[in-house]
């Protein structure tokens, strides 16, 4: 990719730099809550990036992606509750369980397509939700407070807000990079080919089911990691983390930001969550503004925020798949 000086690329760069400099602002502005808010945004952005991998590039419309947030979160929460606070145990477990869950439900769900795929992924996520709600030992519906964050080696301390923010940010940038590399690899081309014409891809000899399943598992694992981060961030896990409305939120972030664009979900997450925060501080009735705004984005800004930015300024001659 040769970076061109378009409006969009400038904004992307500005956003990346702004996110990196945020702790400085929080420190000198004396407002540490900005850091808390943005840590949350960064974590959810990572979940949205992982969803975009299957949604935007793979054409797999999962309506159950929040399940991995919950699974990753509960892996940390349950282990912490049982006295295992080492991140070297908690996080690999979170990743492994998420991957396993994705493998099983992916293998079953990928037999269906279209709306039925949406609904079957929803069904599995809701099952996970109810199972977690039924865990009396771990708080059931009320959730579980985590009294000690994941422990790693000495200088890294997740209880330090700045350190934790940078860890999350690094992982977000890392996952954006992973997605970028993936979709530009042979693997990614097969996935995108299967999205536009599955039959043809199979006809030329690609076992697309296996490719798609692998993609599904990668996305699930990545989201499981953001679940582990989210649990550490909120010091609390509850079934609400994986309720279907949360899956809906993630979809909204992706579509709002721009599907099938690597940076899109980051835009979407930042825009949606900042908008919520700002509007709700202006008026109690903030949803009456946000609702029609979302509808307008759908009607008039195809490709979401990323699409808008691409249109702004001089048009690049060819839409580069980034």
């Amino acid at each position: 990719m040769t970076a061109k000086l378009t409006v969009r690329n400038v904004v992307v760069a500005a956003l990346l730099i702004a996110l990196a400099l945020l702790p400085v602002y929080a420190e000198f502005g004396g407002n540490r809550f900005v850091l808390t808010l943005f840590t949350r945004i960064v974590i959810l952005a990572m979940a949205a990036v992982s969803l975009n991998l299957i949604l935007g590039f793979g054409g797999m419309m999962s309506f159950g992606h929040a399940a991995y947030l919950g699974i990753g979160g509960y892996a940390v929460g349950i282990l912490a509750h049982e006295g295992v606070t080492s991140g070297f145990v908690q996080w690999p477990v979170a990743l492994a369980v998420s991957a396993l869950f994705a493998l099983v439900i992916g293998a079953l769900s990928l037999r269906t397509r279209g709306v039925y795929f949406i609904m079957i992924t929803l069904a599995f996520a809701q099952m996970a939700y109810y199972i977690v709600s039924g865990l009396a030992r771990y708080g059931g519906d009320d959730g579980l407070t985590i009294y000690k964050r994941s422990q790693f080696f000495e200088p890294l301390n997740l209880s330090s807000k700045v350190q934790f923010y940078y860890l999350c940010l690094a992982l977000l940038y890392g996952s954006v990079y992973v997605v970028y590399r993936l979709i530009n690899s042979r693997f990614g081309l097969v996935i995108q080919g299967a999205r536009s014409n599955d039959t043809r891809m199979r006809a030329i000899g690609f076992p697309t089911y296996r490719y798609k399943l692998a993609c599904f598992v990668i996305a699930g694992t990545m989201c499981g990691l953001s679940g582990a981060l989210l649990a550490n961030h909120t010091d609390f896990v509850s079934p609400a983390m994986m309720y279907w409305t949360r899956s809906g939120d993630l979809i909204i972030m992706v579509v709002l930001g721009g599907m099938g664009s690597v940076a899109g979900p980051v835009f979407g997450a930042v825009a949606l969550l900042v908008l919520e925060e700002v509007l709700s501080s202006i008026t109690e009735y903030w949803q009456i503004i946000l609702g029609p705004l979302l509808l307008l984005v759908v009607l008039f800004a195809r490709g979401g925020i990323d699409g808008l930015l691409r249109q702004a300024g001089p048009k690049p001659e060819q839409k580069v798949h980034q």
Binding site: M127, A136, D141
Partner: protein, 305 residues
Amino acid sequence: MTLFIEQCLNGLQFGLLLFLLAAGLTLVFGIMDLVNLAHGSLYMVGAYFAATFAAFTGSFVLGAVLALVATLLVGMAVEVIAMRRLYGRDHLDHVLGTFGLILFFDESVRLIWGPAGLSLPLPPWLNTSVQILPGVHYSAYRLAIIVVTLAVAAFLYFLVMRTRIGMLIRAGASNREMVGALGVNIKLLYTLVFGLGAALAGLAGLMQAPILTVEIGMGEKILILAFVITVIGGIGSIRGALVAAIFVGFIDTLGRAFFPDMLRLMFTKEVAATAAPALSSMLIYLLMAIVLIVKPEGLFSAGNR
């Protein structure tokens, strides 16, 4: 045995209520290929209208009729203003756009009627229980719901199977382009179908209002069940929706009724008490997953989608 009969009636009543919601959803989904998350909002609007009109006119039945008409009009207005522009777009665009509508409806209701919610009191002749079998008493109003919804189901069957408009609806569900190509006024048909779906949702909302609630967000809670039914039954199939709705109603109610006791046999009281409500709610989703794994297009698939 008495208990079992009662629980079956509870399940049937809940299932039929869900059918009203799912019928509208499956029509809109099947014919316009529109994923309408805001369907639950129309359910809410129906209930609010009914509570308002009933208080205004002093008559439960008159209030209900006025509310039905009003919800039909709101539905058609929503179709003309917003939904029409979403046809042919990606399903995810539908999700985002109609989610925006949910927020809008919820807050509008809060602005107009306040946050507290309303109540729709029943007339005394419905607010009682009747003896249906020797020794079995059952809520008169729940029986009334069963009767009304069965009548609506019969009406829908007649409408879809025996009338010209029904023929167009069926044709639209299996091949949209072709209906348009044959010179049918597709725009009007869509507006009517959407209005009909809205009225059905409104009817469900107003009928459950005296038992359950008239409050903001009531639609979101039940919407997902309506989607589950639509999918289990096969998108676009009213018959499928009816079968699936009754199934889901039974599973939900009987699960809640008998599952906790089964769990108590296996686990300690505390574990069972927490796990039972959660696990019985899960049964419906388990059913959907199994149906989709075995029949990836639902039980009675109408189209070729």
